[in-house]
């Protein structure tokens, strides 16, 4: 190609050579650490797991017995010791406690491929039964996102202001959302006899795509408080200016019918 003559001599080769010169710090030997992480189920079974200073991840099915232990740890571990102080999973939601100020997401956040539909059509699109809280009645808006992976009910005007309910398949273990919370904001609750998580105050939430990548366009600050629970079939999060008792009352009223 004639133009090539004017180009710097083979930039691509130069870049490769440059890459070989870049000193990366020595890689650690991770065989022991990884093995320890992979044999960690033993740790989970203890009532008082030794998780301080450790990242730990748990599936929601085994999360319940150690919620209290986690909360104790959250309370005693001062922030700022590590980038990620704690990671905790419950009902398809990962709660991350990190040091630093609250972020301020910009723009209009949205979930991937949002479709606004009547409830009946939405039900046909998703694989799990969409539950509706009888205490709030029929939603003003039903949004199905990411090809039926998430269904959201939006109530514009309730005694608690705007309320949002996100629902996703509780039988699937993957991650649906990540929340970035501060110490002291999270506590364990029970909803109709089942365990749940109560998170106070605005915090950032971001949707996690099926391939595990956070969907940046979905990042937003929550409005008010959040209750997370699951019915065994469906995992739900309720968000709005409700207090804990009000949220639990609304959550307890969910029905598979309209």
């Amino acid at each position: 190609m004639a133009d090539r003559a004017d180009w710097p001599p083979d930039l691509e080769a130069e870049l490769r050579a440059l890459g070989r010169e870049i000193d990366v710090p020595p890689a650690p030997d991770l065989t022991v650490a990884v093995r320890r992480r992979l044999t960690q189920p033993d740790v989970r079974r203890r009532f008082w797991p030794d998780v301080r200073g450790w990242r730990f991840r748990i599936r929601w099915r085994v999360a319940v017995p150690i919620v209290l232990a986690l909360l104790a740890v959250l309370a005693v571990t001062p922030p700022g010791q590590a980038v990620i102080v704690h990671v905790f999973r419950f009902a398809g939601i990962e709660l991350r406690q990190e040091p630093g100020p609250l972020p301020t997401p910009t723009g209009t956040p949205s979930l991937p491929n949002e479709q606004r539909l009547p409830l009946a059509q939405a039900r046909a699109l998703v694989a799990f039964p969409i539950l509706v809280p009888a205490a709030l009645g029929a939603p003003d808006e039903v949004v199905v996102s990411d090809g039926g992976r998430v269904a959201s009910l939006v109530y514009r005007h309730t005694p608690y202001g705007e309320v949002r309910v996100d629902e996703f398949d509780g039988h699937l273990s993957p991650l649906f959302f990540k929340k970035f919370v501060q110490a002291g904001e999270v506590s364990g609750v029970r909803v109709a006899g089942r365990p749940g998580i109560w998170a106070e105050g605005p915090h950032e939430i971001v949707y996690v795509r099926p391939d595990g990548v956070e969907d940046v366009a979905s990042a937003r600050l929550t409005t008010g408080n959040t209750l997370i629970w699951d019915t065994g079939r469906v995992a739900l999060r309720l968000e709005g200016a409700l207090d804990k008792a009000q949220a639990i009352a609304v959550a307890t009223s969910v029905r598979p019918g309209p």
């Binding site: 190609m1 133009d3 004017d6 180009w7 710097p8 001599p9 930039l11 691509e12 130069e14 870049l15 490769r16 440059l18 890459g19 010169e21 870049i22 000193d23 990366v24 710090p25 890689a27 650690p28 030997d29 991770l30 065989t31 650490a33 990884v34 093995r35 992480r37 992979l38 044999t39 990242r55 980038v83 990620i84 991350r96 990190e98 630093g100 972020p103 990540k178 970035f180 391939d211 595990g212 990548v213 956070e214 940046v216």
Partner: protein
């Protein structure tokens, strides 16, 4: 006491395992054989670490890689037999790196790390040629730093990690066409930044990066790129 003699034999876990290939190690790992997985861990840690580091994890590359290796083991059932293990693992590493840099709300600051290379270090007493080469490397690193994130990722994968287009597509989770186009755009910007005669023309080059056609490649039909 039994321990001393056992220790003296050294690495009983790994001995003889080194020779198993990836496919076999994966198969055994799927059966829960942690020794077999340790072989994969040992084999890919350095590469995974370099990938995480250069994609922006920086000092947290250790954590990213550990997390990725744990995830990879737990998701091993999704690994398709016959596929190469390396790119599959690096995809997880790249995802973890993205999550880290995003959750820390900072731009993947490759440049800061790269600048620490001190291109001047060869300059002091070296021959003139080396000094110039050092300057050019410094300029190039700075130019890479100001690339848009995705173009920088493409450059890191294609040239610093020396992955093929197909591997890059897999690791970054992009269509292959995006790898091509982003790499091309990155090279275009870098050329503009460096100046077409191959010397560093810092200011002039930078001004031209947003617009097209500052370099001679502006007149390039582009067929070569989309085709090759």
């Amino acid at each position: 006491m039994v321990y001393p003699s056992v220790r003296a034999r050294a690495t009983p876990f790994v001995r003889g395992r080194d020779t198993i290939d990836d496919a076999e190690a994966v198969a055994r790992s799927l059966d829960g054989d942690l020794d077999a997985y340790a072989v994969l861990v040992a084999r890919y840690t350095v590469r995974a670490h370099r990938t995480a580091y250069l994609l922006g994890a920086g000092d947290e590359a250790d954590d990213v890689v550990q997390e990725a290796l744990v995830k990879a083991f737990r998701h091993l059932s999704r690994f398709r037999v016959g596929e190469p293990f390396g790119p599959w693992l690096l995809r997880i590493v790249a995802n973890e790196t993205k999550n880290l840099t995003r959750s820390r709300r900072r731009r993947a600051d490759l440049a800061v790390r790269l600048s620490a290379l001190e291109p001047e270090r060869v300059a002091a007493d070296g021959p003139v040629g080396e000094v110039l080469a050092g300057e050019r490397r410094g300029t190039l690193l700075k130019a890479i730093d100001v690339l848009p994130d995705k173009e920088r990722q493409a450059v890191v994968c294609r040239y610093f990690l020396e992955l093929s287009e197909t591997e890059t597509a897999q690791v970054l989770g992009w269509p292959r066409g995006s790898v091509k186009s982003r790499t091309f755009r990155a090279l275009h910007r870098l050329r503009a930044h460096l100046g077409t005669d191959g010397t560093a023309t810092d200011g002039a080059g930078t001004d031209g990066t947003g617009t097209d056609g500052t370099g001679t490649d502006g007149r390039d039909p582009g067929g070569e790129v989309s085709g090759g």
